[in-house]
């Protein structure tokens, strides 16, 4: 009996996590997968095994265009946040001398996150709008005759808001990796005659790669799943995969949305796998 108990202990200890992951991750995804094969009409869903939902999703040029649009956002936002994230983290880690200042400046980076996503997004509207701060400034200064139209309700606005929302997810992991780089490596590089940009390119960037990879995973998955930013900032003129799913759900087309979700999940997993293939992040974990 005692022997049985001691052998069972590790399994019992693992049970709590297993239950949480099971209920909140495995079962929902399994249900999604099952539902994606069901039939539906405007009144309800009917259990079955149809590949129609997938055929419709993958066969429609609207889907392909929406995926293309979402990937475009992901690529743009990724490139911009990676660029900003790298330099912010680099400044914090290598140019701020005292640990206290470092921590204070890092906390300053997180201040915008004390408010909700929606508020931060919406607060762009009075800045970018037709009669917003920038436009009235530009018109008032006589730089343009007409207010600039593409500032709000455009792809530009979507990308801007996403960069604003997600840059911290890039800064944090890169900063974290950079803090672990031995400062004497930078000195050793200087001793070997490396200029500033050579130190960054040959020493800091390669060693910060795991951080960039983790940040990229955050940003890519967040952008791929985003619908609120796209809807608000594009004023309904741009589409994303998640927005398409939301529309399908509001039309009670749950199985179609499920099929779409499975396709998106597969795509995102594929992208994450790609990032992990390029960079070995095991050192970070």
């Amino acid at each position: 009996m005692n022997n049985f108990l001691s052998r069972a202990t590790p399994y019992i200890q693992a049970t709590s996590l297993l239950l949480i992951l099971g209920f909140f991750l495995a079962i929902p995804i399994l249900l999604l997968l099952v539902v994606s094969f069901w039939d539906y009409d405007f009144v309800g869903m009917y259990p079955g095994f149809l590949t129609f939902n997938y055929a419709e999703t993958l066969g429609s040029w609207v889907t392909w265009k929406t995926y293309g649009n979402t990937l475009k956002f992901a690529a743009l936002v990724w490139a911009i946040t990676a660029f900003i994230g790298f330099w912010v983290a680099y400044f914090l880690a290598f140019h701020v001398r005292s640990a206290t200042t470092q921590m204070i400046l890092f906390l300053v980076c997180t201040v915008p996150f004390l408010t909700s996503n929606i508020i931060r997004m919406i607060s762009w509207i009075p800045v970018l709008g037709r009669n917003g701060l920038i436009n009235s400034g530009l018109v008032g200064a006589g730089i343009v005759d007409q207010p600039v139209e593409w500032l709000l309700y455009s792809d530009f606005a979507v990308v801007l808001a996403m960069v604003h929302l997600y840059t911290l997810f890039m800064v944090t992991p890169i900063f974290n990796t950079m803090m672990r780089i031995d400062k004497s490596l930078v000195e050793a590089a200087r001793d070997a005659g490396a200029r500033d940009w050579q130190v960054i390119w040959n020493v800091i960037l390669p060693l910060a790669k795991p951080g960039v990879a983790i940040g990229s995973i955050f940003v890519v998955t967040l952008v791929m799943a985003d619908f609120s930013t796209v809807q608000v900032m594009s004023g309904g003129q741009s589409a994303s995969v998640a927005l398409m799913m939301r529309n399908q759900m509001s039309l009670l087309q749950y199985p179609a949305a499920a099929a779409n979700a499975i396709v998106l999940l597969a795509l995102v997993l594929f992208m994450v796998a790609g990032i992990l293939r390029i960079v070995d992040i095991r050192k970070e974990l």
Binding site: A192, G193, R195, N202
Partner: protein, 362 residues
């Protein structure tokens, strides 16, 4: 081959805010010599090395390397190469790329720099590991790679920051011998920072003993050992008893002084005014058991501890106003006339084994 440079440090100070890490030191390190900067942690030895290397700015003063003032030059323009304490090998590069790093920075093409790096690794007998990453090497191997990386720039002086501190005791002694051999072979100036007296004695042509940002003594190992300049040097090098008292008189280069509530001793040194404070050093290994034929060159005390060390026996004695006096005698002498803890024993030494110590300000 010999392109070694003399290093001339001219009243150099390093000030961090209100703390003075290095206080107006002047030092000439002859070309092609092996110099050890020795001292306890926080004495300014590493700051001094880093200023020579150019990784630390000089607050006041100048550093001359060969014929050139290098005070304001960047590290790579000085003709020095530094080997870092933990070696600072680039973890993402294999050994060849690590060694070839400086060549890559100066724009040497890939084939040439890899060939030269491989040659350098051959010199260090590390060519078999050329495609490995630093993490796959032992401490001693990492050190050889760090040496190869530093030497590929063909420096006039190699600066080593506690190069042996990361190694286990056995390896330490082996790598020490390798360093000395390498320095002889290359003929360039080595400046080596260490806190180990033994290391400094074994390697150096000049030992520079530092304390509190100042140089206490810069001399050959033999002189530092036999004729420590100050009480700090005598204590730090070990092997000397340091006793302090007030001068009562001097004659014939022999100063007589009295310990507070203790005996009267004499030691050889410059004549000092009666009544002034004085420190004297007595070699621990030249103390013998037995009555002193001359007054002032011995005392009688109680043994408080005996330590057996194999070839020698270390006796700790208390008496004549001295709280702790160490005598190291050969095992032969000890077993000829064994003593025990609590015994009163007479000790004596020769006049030349007791020397008067100076102070920094005088």
């Amino acid at each position: 081959m010999s392109k070694a440079a003399e290093i001339d440090i001219a009243s150099v100070s390093k000030i961090y805010g209100k703390t003075i890490a290095v206080d107006a030191i002047s030092l000439k390190i002859p070309a092609g010599s092996y110099c050890c900067l020795l001292g306890p942690s926080g004495c300014g030895k590493t700051s001094t090395l880093r200023m020579i290397a150019g990784h630390e700015t000089v607050s006041i003063g100048d550093i001359v390397l060969g014929k050139e003032v290098v005070t304001d030059l960047p590290p790579a323009k000085r003709g020095t190469a530094m080997m870092f304490q933990s070696y600072a090998l680039f973890p993402h590069l294999d050994l060849i790329d690590n060694v070839a790093f400086s060549l890559k920075m100066s724009g040497v093409d890939k084939d040439t720099r890899r060939a030269r790096a491989l040659n350098m690794l051959k010199l260090m007998q590390m060519e078999a590991y050329a495609s490995r990453k630093p993490a796959q090497l032992s401490g001693g191997q990492q050190q050889r790679v760090a040496l190869a990386r530093a030497l590929i720039t063909d420096p006039e002086a190699l600066l080593l920051d506690e190069p042996l501190s990361a190694l286990d005791p056995f390896l330490k002694i082996r790598m020490r011998a390798e360093l000395k051999k390498l320095q002889k072979q290359l003929g360039i100036t080595f400046v080596h920072v260490t806190h180990s007296q033994e290391e400094a004695m074994a390697l150096a042509d000049i030992v520079v003993v530092m304390s509190d940002g100042r140089i206490e003594q810069a001399a050959s190992p033999r002189e530092v050992f036999e004729r420590p300049a100050t009480a700090f040097v005598a204590r730090f090098m070990g092997d000397h008893n340091v006793i302090g008292g007030k001068v009562t008189g001097s004659s014939d280069g022999l100063v007589t002084f009295e310990l507070v509530g203790g005996g009267t001793f004499s030691a050889s040194g410059q004549i000092k005014a009666a009544g002034s404070d004085v420190d004297a050093a007595i070699r621990t290994d030249h103390v013998r058991i037995g009555e002193s034929p001359v007054k002032g060159l011995g005392f009688t005390g109680i043994i408080s501890n005996i330590e057996y060390r194999g070839a020698t026996v270390k006796l700790t004695i208390e008496g004549a106003g001295i709280a702790e006096f160490t005598a190291i005698i050969t095992d032969k002498a000890y077993y000829a006339t064994p003593v025990a803890v609590g015994d009163a024993v007479p000790l004596h030494w020769d006049p030349e084994d007791a020397i008067i110590l100076g102070t920094l300000n005088s």
